[in-house]
């Protein structure tokens, strides 16, 4: 993943976190600006639902505002923030289970829908269409991700998309590093089988994009 200015700013935000800890509201709002996209995308990949991702992101940053002053170490800010986000994700999962509702995203493709539009398209080098195919591919991969268990999914997202180290994930989830690696291994194995079932390979993706 190419590093953007935002990523660079996030990596060098120690001074900002220190100021936020001292109660500087400006620094706190800057931190929201820096981390909002990451936390939203973590929630989105976890739920594959915009509304729930927004809910989790907002709750996470409200909690950050309230509790950042009690943060022990500046270096642990990242795992601390993801811990809050994970807890809210789990809370939403519990709520979802008690509501017993079925999201449209949870429904798999029906009969005759095995072949996706991104596979059928053969026109290339047209930017809007390429963007559309990319969005459809993202959704398809997201659906694969949704088939993993919640425990494996949160580890895979944190490692693969959020770029956390195994140690940081272990800190975030309050489990051992070996458990994290084990979940990651089985998560990737699971994804391999799902992709195989859906006949998504490196070659098909390379051809389509």
């Amino acid at each position: 993943m190419a590093e953007t200015l935002l990523d660079i700013a996030m990596m060098h935000s120690d001074h900002l976190i220190a100021r936020a800890r001292e109660g500087d509201k400006n620094a706190q709002s800057r931190l929201v600006q820096l981390w909002y996209k990451r936390i939203y995308n973590f929630g989105y990949k976890f739920f594959f639902d915009h509304d729930l991702a927004m809910e989790v992101a907002q709750k996470t940053f409200i909690s950050m505002h309230k509790n950042v002053e009690s943060l022990q170490e500046v270096a642990r800010f990242k795992s601390w923030l993801y811990t809050i986000a994970v807890n809210y994700c789990r809370e939403e999962v519990r709520k979802k289970k008690t509501r017993r509702s079925v999201s449209l995203h949870d429904l798999g493709p029906g009969e005759g829908e095995e072949s996706y539009r991104w596979e059928e398209s053969h026109q290339r080098h047209e930017n809007p269409e390429r963007q559309l195919r990319q969005a459809e591919l993202s959704d398809l991969l997201q659906e694969c991700l949704m088939q993993l268990s919640e425990e494996q999914r949160e580890v895979v997202i944190m490692k693969e998309y959020e770029g956390l180290k195994f140690r940081e994930i272990a800190e975030t989830l309050n489990i051992s590093e070996n458990t994290v690696k084990s979940r990651m291994y089985y998560g990737l194995e699971g994804l391999r089988k799902i992709l195989e079932q859906k006949k998504i390979t490196k070659e098909t993706i390379g051809y389509e994009l």
Partner: protein, 273 residues
């Protein structure tokens, strides 16, 4: 020595989080077990495919935070409280000034007054302590006397009325008791019996006359009913008789006609047979 990496080591290798020693050992292991390397490569391919799931663009909501954290002296709680106390004291002083209070302490008495005192002073000059005592004593004595006389009069009146009432009641009771003799009782009982007899007699008389009337009416109605019935029967008999007579005459006429026809056409009748 047989070395076999666990899942954790493989993952650490895949994500480049393995130290040099472990990495070297794993490389050797892969050189001996190319299938294991292939398996890990497949997981690497999965990573490669999954990396195509892109982030969604989202705009962080605006956060409104105050720029200055320090609060001014005017906004502090202590300042507000002290200002309130000062305002209250000032109000009391102003009120005191307007009402003209006088505070004095003499003989263990604290006096706070809001009016001028000269008139009171004049009065104090006119009435001294002895005079006031005398006045109080005389007024008390006269009051006691009048109270005593009123009380005595009331008591007398009450006694008189009570005695009168009692004597009257006793008289009435004795009179009624003496008058209630045996004869009176007997006469009362006899009167009661007579009354009862009379009532019974009247009742039976009324009853007998009513029954008589009823029977008479019944007989009259019955005789009327019989007469009516008889009249109807007679009418019925009459009509029946008329009917028979009519039938009889008709029959006779018919037979006559037949006979005449038979007599007048003997041949024709013979042919018919």
């Amino acid at each position: 020595m047989s070395y076999k990496p666990d899942d954790g080591t493989l993952m650490a290798y895949l994500y480049g989080e393995l130290n040099d020693n472990e990495k070297e050992m794993l490389e050797k292991y892969f050189a001996q077990h190319p299938k294991e390397r292939e398996k890990l490569k497949l997981l690497g391919d999965v990573r490669n495919i999954m990396s195509h799931a892109q982030d969604k663009e989202v705009i962080a909501p605006p956060v409104f935070a105050g720029t200055d954290n320090s609060r001014s002296l005017w906004q502090s709680g202590y300042f507000k409280i002290s200002l309130g106390i000062a305002a209250s004291i000032l109000f009391l002083l102003m009120a005191g000034k307007i009402l003209g209070p006088e505070i004095s302490y003499s003989k263990g008495e604290l006096r706070i007054s809001f009016a001028n005192k000269p008139a009171q002073k004049e009065k104090e000059n006119l009435l001294n302590e002895e005079k006031i005592k005398e006045l109080i004593a005389s007024s008390l004595a006269s009051n006691n006397e009048t109270q005593k006389s009123i009380r005595e009069g009331d008591q007398k009146k009450l006694m008189q009325t009570w005695v009168d009432m009692n004597s009257k009641k006793i008289d009435m009771l004795t009179q009624s008791a003496s008058q209630a003799s045996q004869k009176q009782v007997q006469s009362f009982v006899a009167g009661l019996q007579e009354q009862n007899l009379k009532l019974m007699k009247d009742y039976f008389q009324m009853n007998a006359t009513e029954q008589k009337k009823y029977m008479e009416n019944l007989l009259v109605d019955f005789s009327q009913y019989l007469q009516e019935q008889r009249k109807q029967d007679l009418q019925l008999v009459q009509s029946k008789m008329n009917y028979f007579e009519k039938n009889n005459s008709q029959f006779r006429q018919e037979t006559e006609q037949i006979l005449t026809s038979l007599i007048s056409n003997p041949v024709k009748n013979k042919n018919n047979y």
